[in-house]
């Protein structure tokens, strides 16, 4: 295994074996799975740094570099747009370990011949890299092993994503490709570990829908930070993609001017829903509810409803209950997914719906909403106004989150023992 730290500072000899300079940095071309080394930065005796193309290099290892040539055409090589200087741009910098979903530091960089070229294959983020650079590999590693400490920790290059404020090279800033493969909750976990500036960079690189998913996973304070840092148009786009209840919760933490600005930039329909939700107190049924639900008419047939569902392809948590409303929007009954499926196709909804459903008013206290859901074993509870018009629904997870927020959670056992939820 060859490491960057073993090469830097080593002598560079020309084809006659005469000293030419010292290795200062390596140049790699990004884009491939394992970026190939394309050049060498050599500090020559006069103290200047010159660039050498890889074609001039015969060999490179821990003892130093050997060149093909003795006469160097300095002007012939330039760093191209997709190339970075590994030591300058990457060594000691913070990166995202996409696999491990955390922020780490590059302690060293591993190089290996792959398909005929010397390539950057992995970054060393473990203790081994630190010890190697301190010149303590032997005794340090023995000590660490004796203590049972994990010494080696490498991350493959393809599982690495840059942290913008740390990695100053512009060329590395573009991708965040690796991140887009992760679950939104994992992206959110990474985002929370970053400095505010980098958070926004990552969010900005995702498409609206994914950004909205990640946003929903962030905690309130970080949501506000990220949203404030984004351009208003983009922030409005992301808010549109969020659940109306999530968007309203987030907007409730913004200043009134900012709320008005974002609402005016959102699609009128979404803006209206959010505006409506913003009028309810946080600790009430209205504050907990979402306006994302599916309604059906009593005279539709089971088959018609199933066809419509197929067309809408709604997220799973919205299909367990369908709400039966009359022409004015008054809640008449509920239909469960099970009820819908076992009904014969031509049956009218009115014939198999559950009439007189349990519902609550928008100003009911959040705690009582939770109690009602628990008492009746519901997955969601409809919220209606004084005239019985359906305003929204409170889902069981939203209600439970609120309920858990009020209790004292024991922290001690979790510090010492692995818990299932992390």
């Amino acid at each position: 295994m060859l490491f960057l730290s073993q090469i830097i500072g080593r002598p560079v000899l020309d084809r006659h074996g005469e000293p030419f300079g010292k290795v200062r940095d390596l140049i790699v071309a990004l884009g491939e799975r394992y970026p190939p080394v394309t050049g060498l930065v050599v500090r020559v005796a006069s103290g200047r740094d010159i660039f050498l193309p890889w074609s001039d290099v015969e060999s490179l290892d821990a003892s130093g570099a050997r060149l093909h040539t003795s006469s160097i055409n300095i002007a012939s090589f330039r760093q191209r747009p997709n190339e970075i200087r590994v030591w300058l741009d990457l060594q000691d910098k913070q990166i995202v370990d996409v696999e491990g979903r955390k922020i780490v530091r590059v302690n060293d960089i591993q190089l290996a011949p792959v398909r005929g070229r010397l390539r950057l294959v992995a970054v060393d983020v473990g203790l081994a890299g630190i010890l190697r650079r301190l010149g303590l590999s032997g005794p340090g590693e023995r000590l660490a092993r004796a203590l049972g400490v994990e010494v080696e920790n490498y991350i493959e290059w393809e599982d690495v994503d840059p942290v913008e404020s740390s990695v100053s090279s512009l060329k590395l800033r573009v991708p965040h490709q690796a991140l887009s493969t992760l679950h939104p909750a994992d992206v959110a976990h990474i985002v929370e570990q970053l400095a505010p500036r980098d958070r926004t960079g990552i969010l900005a690189s995702l498409d609206d829908e994914r950004a909205a998913d990640v946003m929903e996973e962030l905690d309130a304070e970080d949501q506000v930070d990220v949203l404030e840092a984004l351009p208003p148009e983009r922030a409005a786009d992301i808010l549109e993609e969020m659940g109306p209840d999530e968007a309203a919760d987030l907007m409730a933490d913004l200043s009134e001017e900012r709320q008005a600005e974002l609402l005016s930039l959102m699609q009128p329909e979404e803006a209206e829903e959010v505006r409506g939700l913003l009028t309810y107190g946080e600790e009430t049924a209205g504050g907990l509810m979402t306006t994302d639900f599916i309604t059906v008419r009593p005279d539709e047939t089971a088959q018609q409803v199933i066809d419509r569902l197929r067309q809408l392809a709604p997220p799973s948590d919205r299909t367990y209950y369908l709400y039966v409303t009359d022409a004015d929007g008054k809640l008449e009954g509920t239909v469960t997914l099970r009820g819908l499926i076992i009904a014969s196709p031509e049956t009218r909804v009115a014939d198999f719906m559950r009439p007189e459903p349990i519902s609550v008013g928008a100003d009911l206290d959040a705690e009582q909403v939770g109690a009602a859901i628990a008492r009746y074993n519901l997955l969601a509870l409809p919220v209606v106004d004084e005239d019985g018009l359906l305003l929204g629904i409170v889902t069981v997870d939203d209600a439970f989150e609120r309920a858990l927020g009020e209790g004292w959670r024991k922290r001690l056992p979790e510090i010492f023992e692995p818990a299932e939820d992390r």
Binding site: Q91, D92, K93, Q94, K102, I103, V104, R105, V106, N107, V125, I130, R133, L134, S165, S166, S168, E192, Q193, A195, P196, R197, D198, D219, A220, E221, D222, V224, D225, A229, D253, S255, E282, E401, R402, L404, G405, R409, R411, L412, E414, I415, F416, E417, P418, A419, R422
Partner: protein, 436 residues
């Protein structure tokens, strides 16, 4: 400015607490808004007036009266220069000082800086426990009760505490500094004389005065404050476009610290100067000496301030230190992590508190000497960190067009040179004292 002005560590800790209480809402009103207005510079200033600071300022007043007050405007300017650089670096780079040192100087220098930081802050933490213990001994609370209770309380506050609790503790601790303002008025000095002394430099060439001067500079400009401020600015996500605000905040923080210092000097100068009382063991001596002269109320206020200041510094310091060390080495950090996930971080955080507390509990441990030792270690750290800072703040790769202006560099390098000389003198003298 609508955010709680705490360190990145503390805010992360709080965030982790909120993660566990999923629907915890942040209300930007009341206490939170108030703390938000204070700004990171102000909190950095508060945390800088710790047990060692109060001790030194008390000595200054007791031994030289008002005659050395003129040094406070000068240390204020020094602090402004350094805090402004830290705030600017945090705003432009978006990174903490430990991060930048690692990014730019590589692993050897980082290791060096972190070892020095660990030793200096480790001894500081012990000094804070010493301050808290000494303060409560005035109220006849023995240190073997104070220290374990405070240590366990700090650990638990951050690890188990709710957001609101941490917030309230911080606010109430911030209020204790007003105790010194009140005690200064209770002491009833000639304010006209105080005003004149502030602008009239008088120099004594006796070694003890010189040492006191050095100690005053050293205790005012403490490295811990820069790490805190820079992380805090970076963590708030304040950018270069808000530099005007950040400057104002840093200046306000520096001025605030020294206003409190001024009142401490005034209290002891008005009451103890000329009585032949000298303070050698710690700030609580000042409190004790106050009782017969200015009354029990002044004594209680003074001790109360000392206790609060020590606890505030002892709360923030272990956290900031652990975060700085772990982040610069890329180790998992965060109070929300379990021991198995972040062994270094949790181990370090716990060890700093436990060792700091145990040192103070060693029978016969001279608390005053402990505080002086921690100040000396900070003095050694200061020029090292200043040189790192100046190299970084002048690096266009990091700072772009926000590098230091030429005149600022002249002032800052001059300051660093002065601090190096002062530190060498202070360290040499202390060493000589220890060897005797």
């Amino acid at each position: 400015m609508n955010r709680l002005a705490l360190t990145r560590p503390l805010r992360r800790a709080q965030r982790s607490i909120r993660e566990r209480l999923p629907n915890f809402r942040v209300h930007r009103s009341g206490v939170l808004a108030f703390l938000g207005v204070l700004g990171p510079g102000l909190i950095a200033g508060l945390a800088g007036n710790d047990a060692g600071g109060i001790f030194t300022y008390s000595q200054l007043g007791a031994e030289t009266g008002f005659s050395m007050l003129w040094i406070l405007p000068i240390t204020t300017v020094m602090l402004i220069v350094v805090l402004e650089m830290a705030a600017r670096m945090g705003a432009v780079s978006g990174q903490g000082l430990g991060d930048l040192i690692r990014d730019d100087f590589g692993i050897r220098w980082t290791l060096f800086a972190m070892v020095v930081l660990l030793i200096a802050n480790g001894s500081n933490i012990a000094a804070e426990f010493a301050g808290a213990a000494a303060a409560l001994e005035i109220f006849d609370v023995p240190r073997w009760i104070t220290v374990p209770v405070v240590a366990a309380g700090i650990w638990a506050l951050v690890v188990f505490g709710s957001y609101r609790l941490v917030e309230r503790v911080f606010l109430s601790v911030a209020v204790v500094f007003l105790a010194y303002v009140v005690s200064a008025f209770v002491a009833g000095p000639d304010w006209g004389e105080v005003g004149r002394a502030l602008v009239t430099p008088t120099v004594h060439f006796e070694p003890s005065f010189l040492l006191l001067m050095i100690a005053t500079v050293g205790t005012t400009v403490t490295p811990y404050m820069f790490f805190y401020l820079q992380s805090s600015v970076a963590d708030k996500g304040l950018g270069p476009e808000e530099l005007g605000f950040e400057r104002a905040d840093a200046i306000m923080g520096a001025v605030w610290t020294n206003v409190i210092a001024l009142f401490i000097v005034v209290v002891t100068a008005a009451t103890l100067f000329g009585t032949g009382i000298t303070l050698t063991n710690g700030a609580e001596e000042a409190a004790r000496a106050l009782a017969p002269i200015a009354g029990d109320f002044a004594q209680a206020l003074f001790a109360f301030g000392l206790f609060g200041a020590s606890v505030l510094a002892a709360t923030v310091m272990p956290l900031t230190t652990s975060y700085t060390v772990c982040e610069s080495f890329g180790w998992e950090s965060g109070i929300s992590r379990r021991f198995s996930e972040a062994p270094v971080f949790m181990g370090l955080y716990t060890a700093l508190i436990v060792i700091g507390a145990l040192v103070v509990l060693v029978p016969g441990m001279p608390l005053g000497a402990l505080i002086i030792l921690s100040q000396n270690l900070n003095g050694i750290l200061l020029p090292i960190i200043l040189i790192f800072m100046l190299r970084l703040v002048n690096n266009p790769r990091i700072m772009g067009s926000h590098v230091n202006s030429r005149w600022l560099n002249v002032v800052a390098w001059g300051l660093t040179g002065l601090v190096v000389v002062l530190t060498l003198v202070l360290f040499g003298t202390s060493l000589a004292g220890w060897l005797q």
